[in-house]
């Protein structure tokens, strides 16, 4: 079935409205706020700091540790039990692997960089929002990075490829949906997160990845603007 007009009326290649801010938390070494549609992610970065327990430290390079947490009443569905669960652990792991190739950890042997992603409100695309927030927060913490890591979900609703699926679009009435979260490093084009829910063929997947690439370029720009806004003025000399 054809999905012609989107539930919220935006174009097929259009993301939901994005608000990105850097440096929103006082006590973290770096922090960020990322809102896309109704999904809100906060990321706090602590470190580089000494790794405890010591046996987890790597003497060759620093370690990146990401924790993803969805708050109990954040989603549109049932209250989810607080604390880590199978899903949160999986997303923590994939977020970590999505950010890792962009971060230069060689300078921090035996240290750890902790990233905490909190989602007070979610409406699909939470892992992508989390990764977007985390990469702003990492840059805000002064960590050397190849590039920002933007992330976006692309997919099919019925036969129509769309960018940035909302919660309703993930379960459309009378249609099949495919949800493909993608994270990438814009400067190299390296894809660092690729998961899939649903069935597509190779050609369709390529269509989706092209769309993701375009959307990610836009998001990366927003991330950089958020950082520039925070540090604006710091450049002026006396």
């Amino acid at each position: 079935m054809q999905y012609k007009k989107r539930y919220d009326g935006r174009g097929h290649d259009e993301t939901r409205p994005i608000i990105a801010k850097a440096g929103v938390l006082q006590n973290a070494d770096g922090s960020a706020y990322f809102k896309i549609g109704e999904t809100i992610a906060y990321a706090a970065v602590y470190g580089p700091r000494e790794m405890y327990p010591r046996r987890l430290a790597d003497p060759k390079r620093g370690v990146l540790r990401v924790n993803y947490n969805m708050m109990p009443f954040s989603g549109p569905g049932e209250r989810n039990r607080p604390g880590p669960n199978r899903r949160a652990k999986e997303i923590s792991m994939v977020s970590e692997k999505a950010l890792l190739p962009a971060v230069d950890l060689e300078k921090y042997p035996n240290c750890v960089i902790d990233v905490f992603i909190e989602l007070p409100q979610t409406d699909a695309g939470s892992r992508c929002a989390g990764i977007c927030a985390a990469s702003i927060a990492l840059a805000d913490a002064g960590i050397t990075m190849q590039d920002m890591v933007p992330a976006i979900a692309v997919g099919y609703v019925g036969d129509t490829p769309v960018v940035d699926l909302s919660y309703d679009e993930e379960q459309p009435e009378g249609m099949e949906a495919v949800d493909v979260p993608v994270a990438l490093i814009p400067s190299t084009g390296e894809i660092t997160l690729l998961q899939m829910d649903g069935i597509v063929d190779a050609e369709q997947l390529n269509t989706l990845l092209e769309k993701a690439k375009d959307a990610c370029a836009v998001i990366a720009q927003k991330q950089r603007e958020a950082l520039q806004e925070k540090y604006l003025g710091d450049a002026d000399e006396e």
Binding site: R49, E50, D104, S187, Y231
Partner: protein, 250 residues
């Protein structure tokens, strides 16, 4: 043809393309990807002829050789003292660099530095694994007694010191406090309690407002208002033993 996409002293962020073409060279905080120079951390771009680098605006203090730091003894070992200094890495003061005094074999090292003691030291060596050696032997290096230490943003330390120490010496003159600023973002102060408080306020003000032009004048005004008297032009008696630190740029 090479093309420069940024201006001198512009804020750059990771992934931002700074220049195109092979004529420009990457330095600290930037890297080359094919024909482009890309920023790899948040900083202020500096263009040195053909070389593009960035001065970091954020991040923890990473130990650098010859930095003057303020640190705290956290453990006593057989070969010296383990110290921390507001950084992910701890350092070591070897026995021979601890004091000018003669330390006999088997002496109780806590007689010289006890756990919890603060000091002004110089980083003598940083190894590839970030093992840090610190010395408290030398001009302007000493154990700190009394006073207080406050933590400031490491990246604002050059602003607190000012050009050739102008800012910190102004605070010293105005408040009569002894002040030592460590490159690691710890500041030690000693003076009259009321004056100490004003000095801390002034330092916080510098930290918060360092990006607004006319900082020196505003801090001067602030100090004069708080102390209720004009700042003496010449150095007071407290000003002789502190070392002037160079502006800490990487």
């Amino acid at each position: 043809m090479s093309e420069l996409l940024i201006q001198e002293r512009e804020i750059v962020v990771p992934g931002q393309i700074l220049a195109k073409g092979m004529e420009y060279l990457p330095s600290h905080g930037t890297y080359r990807k094919d024909e482009q120079i890309i920023a790899s951390r948040v900083g202020v771009a500096i263009i040195d002829g053909k070389v593009i680098r960035s001065i970091p605006l954020a991040g923890k203090y990473l130990p650098k050789r010859n930095d003057i730091i303020i640190g705290k003894v956290i453990d006593i070992l057989s070969m010296g003292w383990r110290v921390e200094f507001n950084s992910p890495y701890s350092g070591l003061i070897p026995i021979k660099d601890g004091t000018f005094e003669f330390i006999p074999r088997g002496a109780d090292l806590s007689r010289y530095f006890d756990i919890g003691d603060y000091f002004v030291g110089r980083i003598t060596n940083v190894s590839g694994q970030n093992l840090v050696d610190v010395s408290v032997k030398g001009q302007g290096l000493y154990k700190l007694r009394d006073g207080r230490t406050i933590k400031v943003n490491t990246n604002k330390v050059p602003r607190i010191i000012g050009k050739k120490g102008s800012m910190v010496s102004m605070i010293k003159r105005a408040t009569g406090c002894k002040i030592t600023v460590g490159q690691n973002g710890l500041v030690w102060l000693l003076g009259e309690p009321a004056m100490e408080f004003i000095a801390v306020q002034a330092i916080r003000k510098i930290e918060e407002e360092s990006h607004i032009p006319g900082l020196t004048d505003r801090v001067k005004e602030f100090l004069e208002e708080k102390t209720g008297q004009p700042i003496p032009e010449h150095h007071s008696q407290n000003d002789d033993d502190e070392e002037e630190q160079p502006e800490g740029e990487q």
